[in-house]
């Protein structure tokens, strides 16, 4: 029986395993050193915040794996011998495979700051990071202040986590505004405000110079590069992005750049070796996408795709329209299509923000043809199917606005803002768009 070995039990690897099992009878082994069972990494924050227990973050009960004949091995891979189709594990065991899927995910970036390996300095990526946080920041008596370096999604999540235990947080962001490389100015500004409203000490446009140690090798303070200001703290969170976790691949013949290089079928240069998820790098970027996308959803899609290929149905990875979502403390965010931080040549923009400062939408569309390009939605839930269809059918922004009620995914009895949004658009663009009433028929008719 063919033996499929998957390195990594994150969403990519586990999705691949599940789909291979759905489609075939092959022997499957998942190797991970992090935890014995798959858990949802995105939910780690909720464990610290007390919303869930670790048990609750496991999408499958523990019996699921043996019932589905998916073997789990807790070990760390040291190197890959592609000639003999063998893995060398760190406990010096060797482990053979017929087909190998590398789904090892990423690791937090460290930029060689002095003191970056002190006790009390951590990323927020692995289960072990959470344990370390629980050790160094169990409450605001042990941890008088925490400093977070890096203004992205993990940074704000870590800030929210510490804030939930009333630990004062200083949040250092290199850009002039939060996540401004991805979010347009208006949205970015709105999130700045949300951070400040939650009494988090947000510092924009600053870099970390160094982390200072006390006599026991634990964090004592940090110094800001621009101002030289020293901030006393007991914990430093390094959340300046992630990069592919592929050190163990580098010594093999598998070609890699920042990530493991793959073609559209997620194959590496070596036969029977595939790479998916955060650690995979497309040789040629797909559409407007980046070659490496460290996103939950893309990892899952790659897992679905590679399973097809391995089970005798060669399939190219063709992610559909871009979508993503996040939550910035209390503000939910969804994006469909493309809304670049800086508008491109052909783009026109429309921004609406509710007066409470917690809800906004940002539309991007072609200046001339009015074709809809993308939307950012904040504090209003939007229907994925709706935007997927609109993008596929290349509908105009006018169509989108007319049918905004169909797109709304907020719970019942929520206030609707379609009228307000449309009348603002009409005023700004001299149009006369009328909102159509919500139609179940349109919503549930499959294209």
């Amino acid at each position: 029986m063919e033996h499929i070995v998957i390195i990594g039990n994150g969403v990519s690897g586990v999705t691949a395993a599940r789909h291979i099992r759905k489609l075939s009878d092959k022997k499957i082994t998942i190797i991970s050193s992090e935890t014995s069972h798959f858990f949802s990494r995105t939910a780690l924050m909720y464990i610290y915040m007390g919303h869930m227990k670790f048990e609750n973050t496991k999408p499958y009960e523990d019996w699921f794996w043996s019932k589905n004949r998916i073997e789990l091995k807790q070990a760390r891979v040291a190197s890959i011998d592609t000639k003999n189709k063998n893995l060398n594990l760190e406990n010096s065991e060797s482990f053979s495979y017929d087909k190998l899927i590398i789904a090892a995910g990423s690791k937090p970036n460290k930029f060689g700051w002095s003191g970056q390996d002190l006790n009390g300095v951590m990323g927020m990526y692995h289960k072990q990071d959470l344990e370390s946080l629980e050790k160094y920041a169990p409450n605001n008596k042990v941890c008088k202040r925490a400093v977070i370096v890096g203004g992205g999604l993990i940074g704000i999540e870590l800030a929210e986590m510490l804030h939930s235990r009333n630990i004062p947080v200083t949040f250092l962001v290199r850009e002039k505004s939060f996540w401004n490389g991805v979010l347009p100015d208006q949205e970015s500004e709105m999130i700045n405000q949300e951070i400040i409203d939650n009494h988090i000490d947000l510092r924009l446009g600053v870099n970390l110079k160094e982390i200072k140690s006390d006599e026991k090798g634990q964090v004592k303070s940090i110094v800001i590069a621009e101002t030289g200001e020293e901030i006393e703290c007991n914990v430093v969170g390094l959340t300046a992005g992630v990069s592919p976790n592929i050190k163990f691949v580098k010594s093999s013949e598998i070609e890699s750049n920042r990530g493991v290089l793959v073609n559209r079928s997620l194959e590496t240069n070596i036969k029977d070796v595939y790479a998916i998820g955060d650690c995979a790098e497309q040789r040629e970027a797909i559409g407007q996408r980046r070659p490496i996308e460290a996103v939950w959803y893309t990892g899952r899609m790659m897992g679905e795709t590679v399973a097809q290929t391995i089970c005798g149905n060669p399939t190219e990875y063709r992610p559909g329209h871009w979508f993503n979502s996040a939550k910035f403390i209390d503000i939910e965010y969804q994006t469909y299509g493309w809304v670049w931080a800086k508008p491109r040549e052909n783009e026109a923009r429309f921004f609406w923000k509710h007066k409470d400062g917690k809800k906004a939408i940002h539309l991007s569309f072609d200046k001339d043809s009015k074709e809809f390009i993308g939307i950012n939605a904040f504090g209003i839930r939007m229907r994925h199917e709706f935007f997927d269809k609109v993008l596929t059918e290349k509908k105009s922004v006018i169509h989108v606005l007319q049918h905004l009620a169909d797109a709304n995914f907020d719970p019942e009895f929520y206030k609707q803002y379609e009228q307000e949004i449309i009348s603002k658009f009409n005023k700004a663009h001299g149009t006369n768009i009328q909102a159509k009433k919500k139609s179940w028929k349109r919503i549930f008719s499959k294209a």
């Binding site: 009960e61 939950w296 719970p411 549930f444």
Partner: protein, 534 residues
């Protein structure tokens, strides 16, 4: 604000302490007249009456002493009767722990209560309910500030002893179960608590308060205080606010005030929203007779009850799912959604409990239906309810064992008492026959579903964790499948706690309600080709 919260907590605990302590204070003094009144209805044994007059009447006794004496004398009387050559069966006093105390002992203890509480009922009401309610409102009210900006703040729930089966949770569990045991089986020890609401009862219906009035009043008070907590916790979520308001209204108006007012007008006590088979005694002979004897009003109630069960319930479930009842109208649901909300994360999501659940809940439905069929058969065939029908059992035997096992133990003691251990919808999930009935409609013929938003789920598990019905919502959401489950009561909390806006309760067209997906939205695999592969 923290200070106000703590003051609230202290006040409320004082109220509870006084309430609890009052069970152990006060004495009973049975007067000749009280005794004769009671004995003329309850006993035929001269032995009992004579002995009791000696041992009980005119003596200062605690409720416990009085109760044990009555039982002792009853036992002696039975022995005496049985020692005779010809036993006078009508003089035997039937002693059964779950019946004797509430039917036999309680009326005498209630009528003979003396002491400070009896003299100061109004002030005692303030010391117990007054302090507990005021304290509760301050305690939860302070959260308006303390929780920070509106939004889901389940912070620390799994780190707190009260909400994660810790010591405080166990204390609450023992308190709840203890209270239910006393309420259902030993109300003779709850005389002072019952007296605390005597004034309210008299002003509503003109009657003295009973243990059921105490329960009804407590129910409303507890729900009101915890509804305030809901309003604050979910103040960003209109669905939760409207739903909590409506379920509170139905409890106070339909389950509490209207029945009491009916009684004040000499009509039968009737809860217009309580549908069969949850209201299992609706088709019992005594209920039907009492309704029929009550003229037009009674006939209307009888017809209404039948229409509610046969027409309104299925039609409403077809359009809106069973949530319209379970989370918006039902009293059991109302308590679960208010008092029970802090415990919702404790319900088990394992496949094993789902299996248990399906056997149990449908078993109860079958049991309730058979019992009702038998009751109606004996009613129309004019067979006395105590006469044996089959297997040595009478309709009355079946009714009373259902009442004991399901009506008291399952729905009360376990259903509510176990909130701090098994989550807040133990009864609704495992036992309620009405939920099972509506669930069948909801699963197979309804427009209701929980929609999942394309491929947006990150499998974080908040939805499953906070599902009080133990549905593994995530397992559907991560597949992009709509959730069509007979147990879903549509509380809407999965949607509220989802950090990615993936879930929404919808009543759309029936077509396409069940949508198994091969590959999630976002991945452009050729679906047709995939299907052909199969």
């Amino acid at each position: 604000m923290k200070v106000i919260k703590n003051i609230g907590l202290v006040l409320s605990l004082i109220g509870f302490a006084i309430f609890t302590a009052s069970m152990f204070i006060g004495t009973n003094n049975v007067s000749e007249e009280t005794f004769n009144n009671w004995a003329s209805q309850k006993v035929k044994s001269e032995f009992f009456i004579e002995k009791a007059k000696q041992d009980i009447v005119g003596k200062e006794l605690t409720a416990y002493q009085l109760s044990s004496k009555i039982i002792d004398i009853a036992k002696q009387s039975n022995e005496f009767q049985k020692s005779k050559d010809e036993i006078a069966w009508e003089k035997i006093i039937h002693i059964k722990w779950n019946k004797t105390y509430k039917d036999f002992v309680y009326p005498l203890v209630r009528a003979s209560a003396t002491g400070w509480v009896v003299q100061n009922q109004g002030f005692f009401f303030f010391l117990t309910f007054g302090l507990a309610i005021l304290g509760g409102l301050l305690f939860f009210g302070a959260d308006y500030q303390l929780l920070g900006p509106p939004g889901i703040k389940n912070n620390g729930i799994f780190q707190h002893s009260a909400t994660n089966r810790g010591i405080l949770g166990m204390v609450a569990f023992v308190f709840f179960v203890g209270f239910y045991m006393l309420l259902y089986f030993f109300p003779n020890y709850l005389i002072n608590p019952i007296l605390s609401v005597n004034g309210v009862s008299k002003s509503l219906s003109g009657n003295e308060s009973s243990q059921w009035f105490l329960y009804g009043f407590m129910y409303c008070a507890v729900m009101t205080v915890f509804a305030v907590r809901m309003f604050i916790k979910y103040r960003h979520n209109n669905y939760q606010i409207v739903r909590t308001l409506v379920v509170l209204f139905f409890q106070i108006a339909f389950a509490f005030l209207i029945p009491e007012i009916l009684v004040a007008f000499n009509k039968p006590w009737f809860d217009f929203k309580n549908a069969w088979p949850l209201n299992y005694s609706f088709f019992f002979d005594w209920n039907i007779n009492s309704l029929i004897e009550n003229g037009n009003m009674g006939i209307f109630m009888l017809v209404w009850g039948i229409i509610l069960t046969l027409v309104i319930i299925p039609v409403m479930v077809y359009f809106y799912g069973k949530r319209w009842y379970c989370s918006w109208v039902c009293g059991c649901g109302g308590l679960a959604e208010t008092l029970g909300d802090p415990y919702r994360q404790l319900s088990s999501k394992s496949l094993f409990s789902w299996k248990v659940e399906r056997w149990l809940i449908h078993g109860v439905l079958v049991f309730a239906t058979l019992m009702t069929a038998l009751t109606l058969y004996t009613y129309f065939a004019e067979i006395e309810s105590w006469k044996e029908v089959a297997f040595g059992l009478s309709a009355y035997d079946i009714q009373s064992s259902y009442g004991f096992l399901i009506g008291s133990i399952f729905s009360g003691v376990i259903g509510t008492g176990f909130y701090p251990i098994l989550g807040n919808r133990v009864w609704c999930r495992f036992g309620c026959p009405l939920a099972a009935y509506m669930g069948l409609v909801q699963r197979f013929k309804s427009r209701f579903r929980i929609t999942t938003n394309g491929g947006q789920c990150i499998s974080c598990g908040n939805c499953s964790t906070y599902c009080e019905q133990g549905i593994d919502v995530r397992s559907y959401a991560q597949k992009g499948e709509n959730i069509v489950r007979s147990s879903c009561v549509g509380c809407g909390v999965c949607s509220a706690v989802c950090p990615r806006g993936v879930l929404k309760l919808e009543n759309g067209p029936e077509k396409g309600r069940i949508n198994p997906t091969q590959v999630l939205l976002g991945n452009d695999v050729d679906l047709l080709e995939l299907m052909n592969e199969k």
